[in-house]
Symmetry: C2
């Protein structure tokens, strides 16, 4: 037994106890007549004191981060020295023995709240980075959220099933990670992008309610809100449910989780419902941040007879004009240029604006607009003195995307939003089909979602107006959940696939287990998956998802601490029946 | 909302309620004047009745496994019809509406307790197999054991950390599974054989207590108690602990788990301690089954002057002779031959035996032994009338292995052992080093375990008598746990590596993160890992580990349901910078 207590648990109750503690030197102050050591472990900090006048103990050499084992007596601090911010602030330890358990060379950076080093260096020495309170706090919170989540779903009769990590490649969706098989030469396993097929098969197997905090693997290019290689989702599938049954579980979970683990967070927008089309129309995004206004205002028809040729031509082309009010802001030339750059990044050719100041209407297009048009703009956007109204005129997709992203850009640069506010928005009625770049009809999202209003709806001659019972949940502008009611009827599934020019043979070949299983009495079923890491990132106010993993991958999908990926031996490749086929040097 | 209740929850309290249930037809009995449907879901079975004389409801066509939605009124069964074995045995439902939700083709096998089909067929249609009570029970139990385990460790302040699944190859131990990197051409990730390095680095990071039900991946050939591709372990690492601290956690966990989840199991041998050498000496195994006797009896020195040349020569060669008593058994010729075959499988040339019946001493070597030798045998083995004593004379390793395996063979074929008895045996003091086939000193197990009695012990000139603080736990003949106290002192680590002819450069190259981390004040730490699947297999009386997974791999490491592994497209290989290098056809 190395220790009797942790560095967090001693209080006035322990006064006069003989104790042994272990931990790292957080701080050491040698005042000559007295030495104070703040001993730190994961749980807390305890102050150790040594008074050479009172003790024959010879202090060993000690510096920050030395690992010590200290034995001593707990004494009460004098009233004036009590530290109420510290769990152990009522006491200190008079050391009778100090052992240096391990010591060694200089650290690459100091263990402080804001270390003066690069992210790469922090990740390279992640085991030191973990000693920082903030990183430890993320790791601890993650563990609590894992436990909390699993217990809540278990209590609701969900069965935790570990679906296989070695499965089959389905290049239908994102890119798969592949694992060459030694025992089956020339063949490959794939890591699951998500356990979709397995969880549907669990429903066919009568499991009724499945959940798992599932590792998912997609070989995508790195992004700030997406972790390379692996990420985790709270993955559920339920039998005999409709969309409302599924959302009842989701809302119950979030309404339980947040007040328990993050009580300082406030749900200010509680599960507002928007159809997919409405979200794009009003916020230029299918994952809108509802913590602030700046809704997009449809104005195409208002400029049908405009003298302003750009607007008039846009209408004539059956394109779109939308406006967005920027309250209490008159743009400087530089600011206007910067916002214009933003919309150009998203394919818009141009950002127009007018503003209202004490002297009247100003801005890039003020002089082209008639007084009636300006009046309409004021009425529809509600613009008042000192407001600016921004316009994009282009194809519908460009207008909504450009203004939607501009809205977020303005949020980050100009608005003050309480980071503890949470806005949840249900997005529903996703289109079932879309036109691909070659004008061919294709599935918009998951082909296994059921068509809304069933078989009859498939006959709609405008295939782009067929909707699926797919849904998302956004939080503060992040997509944190997807789900759908499944199409469990093999005939209806076949009809949907046929509409995009894909026949039974292809389904059988690509999804044979599921297609076969659906012949054997599947129950109606539906699912959702919550991005565990992304939700955690929001709750912990992190902007980069890498911060919520104990051992993150860098932006080049590397583990810079472990040197992964790495070269391997030729005999390893030989056993796997593969050889390298490297791109030629330029 | 498809249903108001599950098929398990209605009791006499619900009488006269209007309810809707969903499930599969478990059984249907049409008696003409009355139809009874047993409707089944995961939770239970409810009886539905239809009396054509009392109801205008037209019954749809229904067969076993059709999926139904049934609405009706709960009524109390007549006293004589109450079924006390059924949760819902007090009631039945008078159907007012029956909808067939899905129906389809003939099943490949019936959903009964013992289906008349092959394992391969069960796994191919695992989603149907899952509807069987026994399989569902294993899946449900697994979920309960996951939840129970995680909660216990969380309560004891262990942090659940999901260590990376994409890591670096360490061909030091078993064979790695590799994943080619698209972004880093020519390089490979490896799936972790266990999270060893990460969990040690967590200790350096001050996490203090880590646990995870960790997926592990080893590219080994399939075996009955080892699942292909992936398996799970309850993985722990703790700081500032010695061996007794670690075992306190292990024993507490098992002593809590078993009475709670498997109360019919009895711990008949509670954590007996044996040194590794003692276990091999006494049971011929480092994972002894202690539920029965048949200990190996050392007899080499007793035959030093034997007239029986085989024994005498064995002693002269400094080899070994051990005996094992088989109580209440006189072997037939055929039985003796079969046992001999068994020891030959394990490299012994020969099995000798004598037996004691009413007429005196018999058996293959009875005539070669002196009366004194027979007396010694009786004394040392305790053999009595109607017992047989078995002998193997060979090198020590062959004798112990052959008799150890023979002991298990006899257990399975001849002995009656209560399958609910659990015998736990701690195996300690593993040798640190062994001689490899070329007579070169090598690490016996994990090189990162600390040397018992520290630095001084390494100086022992007989390197084979240096022990490590490594330990195992066996249960009923299965190894279910491994662990050790780590060597966290980089200098001592270096010394141990040097003894097997490996220098600092090699350690730095192969284990650089850990070697570097050990320079920065690691705490003393130790670990254990319990084979989650194997423990589950024991608690559920399964002899094949495949039965404890929802979706198992077949013996050829294949998922026969999903067709994994499979061929992949050429462009997938191209993106990963690899090409196939198949063995030539013979």
């Amino acid at each position: 037994m190395y220790r009797t207590h942790t560095c967090w648990e001693l209080t006035a109750k322990n006064v006069w106890n003989q104790v042994t503690l272990c931990g790292w030197v957080n701080k050491i102050r040698n005042l000559g007549w007295m030495t104070f050591i703040d001993l730190r472990d994961r749980y807390g900090i305890t102050q150790i004191t040594h008074d050479p006048a009172q003790s024959s103990l010879e202090l060993p050499e000690m510096k920050s981060e030395y690992v010590l084992q200290i034995t001593g007596k707990v004494i009460a601090r004098p009233d004036t020295m009590i530290n109420k911010d510290m769990a152990t602030g009522e006491i200190e330890i008079i050391a009778s023995d100090i052992k240096v358990l391990t010591k060694a060379k200089l650290l690459p950076f100091s263990i402080v709240d804001e270390p003066n080093t690069s992210e790469e260096n922090r990740f390279k020495y992640r085991y030191l980075d973990l000693r920082r309170r903030k990183v430890l706090d993320n790791v601890t919170f993650r563990s609590k959220m894992l436990t909390f989540t699993r217990n809540r779903f278990s209590e609701k009769w969900f069965i935790d099933v570990q679906t296989p990590i070695f499965t089959v490649s389905s290049p239908e969706w994102a890119r798969d990670y592949l694992i060459p098989s030694r025992i089956n030469p020339g063949q490959f396993y794939a890591l699951p992008q998500a356990p979709q097929q397995y969880k549907q098969l669990l429903m066919v197997g009568g499991i009724d309610k499945y959940f798992q905090i599932a590792p998912c693997f997609r070989d995508e290019d790195p992004r700030a809100d997406r972790h390379s290689c692996e990420f985790y989702q709270i993955d559920c599938e339920m039998s005999f449910v409709n969309q409302e049954d599924v959302y009842a579980v989701v809302e119950w979970y979030l309404n339980t989780l947040i007040p328990t683990l993050s009580p300082h967070k406030k749900i200010t927008v509680a599960f507002k419902r928007l159809k997919h089309r409405e979200a794009v129309d009003q916020y230029g995004s299918d994952k809108p941040d509802l913590r602030f206004g700046m809704e997009l205002v449809e104005m195409t028809q208002d400029f049908i007879n405009s003298w302003f040729s750009v607007f008039k031509d846009t209408v004539a082309n059956a394109w779109s004009i939308k406006a967005m009010k920027f309250e209490n802001k008159i743009l400087s030339r530089k600011e206007a240029d910067e916002l214009t750059e933003e919309v150009k990044k998203n394919k818009a050719k141009w950002l127009a604006y007018i503003s209202f100041d004490a002297e009247g209407v100003k801005g890039s297009i003020a002089k082209f607009l008639s007084p009636e048009e300006i009046e309409t703009i004021k009425t529809k956007t509600g613009a008042k003195e000192w407001d600016t109204v921004l316009f994009v005129a282009d194809s519908y997709d460009v207008v909504t995307t450009a203004l939607g992203r501009l809205r977020i850009f303005i949020r980050d640069k100009y608005l003050t939003i309480d980071k503890d506010d949470l806005s949840f928005c249900r997005i529903e009625d996703f289109p079932m089909f879309e036109m691909d770049d070659e004008g061919k009809l294709d599935f918009c999202h998951n082909p296994f979602s059921i068509v809304k209003w069933g078989r009859e709806a498939l006959k709609n001659p405008n295939k782009l107006e067929i909707y699926s019972e797919q849904y998302d949940l956004s939080c503060n502008g992040y997509e944190i959940l997807s789900g759908s009611i499944r199409n469990h009827d093999p005939e209806l599934l076949l009809e949907a696939f046929k509409l995009v020019g894909r026949g039974e043979e292809e389904i059988k070949q690509k999804f044979w287990a599921m297609y076969e299983a659906f012949q054997f009495w599947p129950p109606p079923h539906g699912w959702f998956a919550i991005g565990f890491d992304r939700l955690l990132m929001i709750l912990k106010d992190e902007e980069n998802i890498r911060e919520v993993y104990a051992f993150p991958k860098s932006w080049r999908a590397q583990d810079v601490m472990m040197w992964a990926p790495s070269n391997v031996d030729q005999n390893q490749l030989d056993e796997l029946h593969i050889s390298l086929n490297l791109p030629k040097e330029k």
